[in-house]
């Protein structure tokens, strides 16, 4: 029913959505359009994906680990991707999920850091600020029903205080001394928790590397979308260092003596 008397007796005008019937992207508008805008789609599913990221707090700061794989469905497509990224001097982020969305986030953070640098006001963005910024970005995209399909871990140390938090495609955030995304949450988190919880201030760098390496090994055994090449990022008061790609040592001879899957003996 058209309440506006000036419209009665006139042809219907579809250039105006008088009652907000259409969702925002589909409302008629007369802004200038380019040839590309008709093809704009919202993220429905991740295409090129990274798997889990692990992170722990230890004595000197934060340690984060992620493998070097970007999968294309079940294809191991890009085997030398770096999924850990330093942001400023105090923070490292690691992302799983859609890699194109992660590249967009890297661009946003770059811009953020550059603007902060050019302001020259004596302040630097620390991990808490980066995490806060990312959580706002992720949640605002989620409310527009066009998410950045990632699960991101943000870790760092500033003014002596360690910071480790998680943010994902829905805008969910939480903080703990051990974090893992994706399959790591099911497989690695139990191992990380028993090794780290309660001992964050006593865990040496060696032990932290060992527990992360062990977790990456178990993930390589049990996650079908992982590879045995990974990197570890370390954030201490000295700054952020991301290691060279390491290779996992694996053992596959555990069932040497077994034949068949049931009653077979030969």
């Amino acid at each position: 029913m058209d309440h506006f008397p000036t419209n009665w007796g006139r042809p219907r005008h579809d250039g105006v959505d008088a009652y907000g019937t259409y969702p925002i992207p589909q409302r008629p508008s007369n802004t200038p359009k380019d040839a590309f805008s008709a093809g704009i789609q919202r993220t429905q599913q991740p295409i090129v994906t990274g798997t889990s990221v692990l992170a722990i707090k230890y004595k000197d700061g934060i340690m984060m680990a992620a493998d070097n794989l970007a999968s294309y469905g079940s294809l191991a497509r890009f085997k030398d991707i770096q999924r850990l990224q330093p942001v400023g001097a105090h923070t490292v982020i690691g992302a799983g999920g859609d890699m194109s969305d992660f590249q967009y986030i890297q661009g946003l953070l770059d811009e953020l850091i550059v603007n902060e640098f050019t302001a020259q006001d004596g302040h630097n963005l620390g991990p808490a600020e980066i995490h806060n910024y990312l959580s706002k970005v992720m949640y605002s995209r989620r409310t527009k029903m066009n998410p950045l399909w990632n699960a991101i871990l943000v870790g760092g140390i500033k003014d002596g205080k360690r910071f480790l938090s998680f943010v994902d495609l829905l805008g969910t955030t939480y903080s703990a001394s051990t974090l893992a995304t994706g399959y790591g949450a099911h497989i690695a988190q139990p191992l990380l928790r028993t090794a780290v919880e309660g001992k964050e201030d006593d865990l040496t760098e060696e032990d932290a590397v060992k527990i992360l390496e062990q977790s990456m090994r178990v993930l390589y055994y049990r996650d079908a979308r992982s590879i045995d090449k990974y990197q570890i990022a370390k954030v201490t008061v000295e700054g952020v260092t991301i290691s060279e790609s390491k290779r996992l040592e694996t053992s596959w001879s555990f069932a040497e003596g077994i034949r068949g899957y049931g009653a077979q003996t030969q």
């Binding site: 139990p190 090994r217 178990v218 055994y221 069932a255 049931g262």
Partner: protein, 337 residues
């Protein structure tokens, strides 16, 4: 009378009906691996099986201390995850059939026999029997460890986990398992794996059960670890006697006249006639007498005729049948008459 002959092969006669109903919106329930962590581990001398003790009904814990390690034969045990009824009845059926089979063959039962019986039955039901099992045992051919999935596939492995907590438990196994472990190492690895499931998976909880099977001996360690004991309550919450005031007390004996008729003497029962009780239940006191409270005025105690108490087993105090639960001022009445 309808023929009981079933032609060989699958019976698809319900397919059309099921598809029709499915299109209308009522789908067949999927087989799910519900809240549980069960594990099995091969060590030097045999097999260690482990399980948690939580049984869930959706989001609610139905049983805080159930037993998931089922008996198949003396030297073969089976942990069950999935639908509890399915695992219980399936393992009971196969246990019974194994006993008959052992008697028929005259040999000690073998693990592969139980595994074959289980997988053939589960495959026949095409996954509708939601039983995910870890079967382990030691027989004349050595130690064996199998997993059996609800659809009937089996795997033969040196260490296995099943259930919703299987990923957490498998992470512990992958970190810690070695070939030819000692008994203590194997047991502590199993306990660590189940604990990982208990503390990191919401579908698993409470205590750790274990079962160690070797060539000559099976040891069932029920509640070998109890990491979730409830804290002692800070105060007692019972009401003291006299909380409910009464003004008058009168006791009426409902037994007006008593005639004792002994029924069917047997060796097991004591049929001596007791003055205060009757007949066969002579050595058993009646359960309780019901106490009625008129809250405004009197407390009347009624003694039920003993005829109502025949065959009701005696409960020692302080255990009370739930539907006879009454305020504590009635407790002394519940201890016999």
């Amino acid at each position: 009378m309808a023929s009981v002959y079933l032609p060989p092969g699958f019976n698809f006669s319900n397919e059309i009906r099921n598809n029709f109903i499915g299109d209308k919106g009522l789908h067949l329930p999927k087989a799910t691996s519900t809240g549980t962590t069960i594990v099995g581990c091969l060590f030097k001398d045999g097999i260690v099986l482990g399980a948690d003790t939580r049984a869930t009904e959706g989001p609610i814990v139905a049983d805080k201390n159930c037993e998931k390690i089922h008996y198949i034969t003396e030297n073969i045990r089976c942990c069950g995850a999935g639908t509890a009824a399915d695992t219980e009845f399936t393992t009971a059926l196969i246990s019974s059939n194994m006993e008959l089979h052992a008697l028929s063959t005259g040999r000690k039962p073998r693990v592969v026999t139980a595994m074959t019986m289980l997988k053939q039955m589960l495959f026949r039901y095409q996954g509708h029997v939601g039983a995910a099992l870890v079967l382990g045992g030691v027989d004349a051919t050595g130690p064996h460890l199998f997993t059996i999935h609800p659809h009937g596939s089996t795997d033969k492995l040196p260490y296995v986990t099943m259930g919703s907590g299987s990923l957490a438990a498998m992470a512990v196994f992958e970190s810690g398992w070695r070939a030819n472990m000692e008994r203590d190492d194997a047991l502590s690895l199993v306990k660590a794996a189940i604990s990982a499931g208990i503390f990191n998976d919401l579908g698993s909880g409470s205590n750790v059960d274990a079962c160690i099977i070797t060539a000559d001996h099976t040891e069932m360690l029920r509640n070998v670890e109890m990491p979730n004991v409830r804290v002692q309550k800070e105060r007692t919450y019972t009401f003291r006697r006299g909380t409910t005031a009464w003004t008058k007390e009168s006791i009426r004996n409902l037994i007006v006249s008593e005639e004792v008729t002994p029924v069917g003497a047997s060796d097991a029962m004591d049929t001596t006639i007791d003055e205060t009780h009757e007949g066969i239940t002579a050595k058993k006191k009646p359960l309780m007498s019901l106490t009625q409270h008129d809250f405004n005025c009197e407390q009347t105690r009624l003694r039920i005729p003993s005829i109502l108490n025949i065959g009701i087993p005696v409960l020692k105090p302080p255990y009370v049948r739930p539907y006879f639960h009454l305020p504590s001022s009635a407790h002394t009445d519940l201890v016999g008459t």
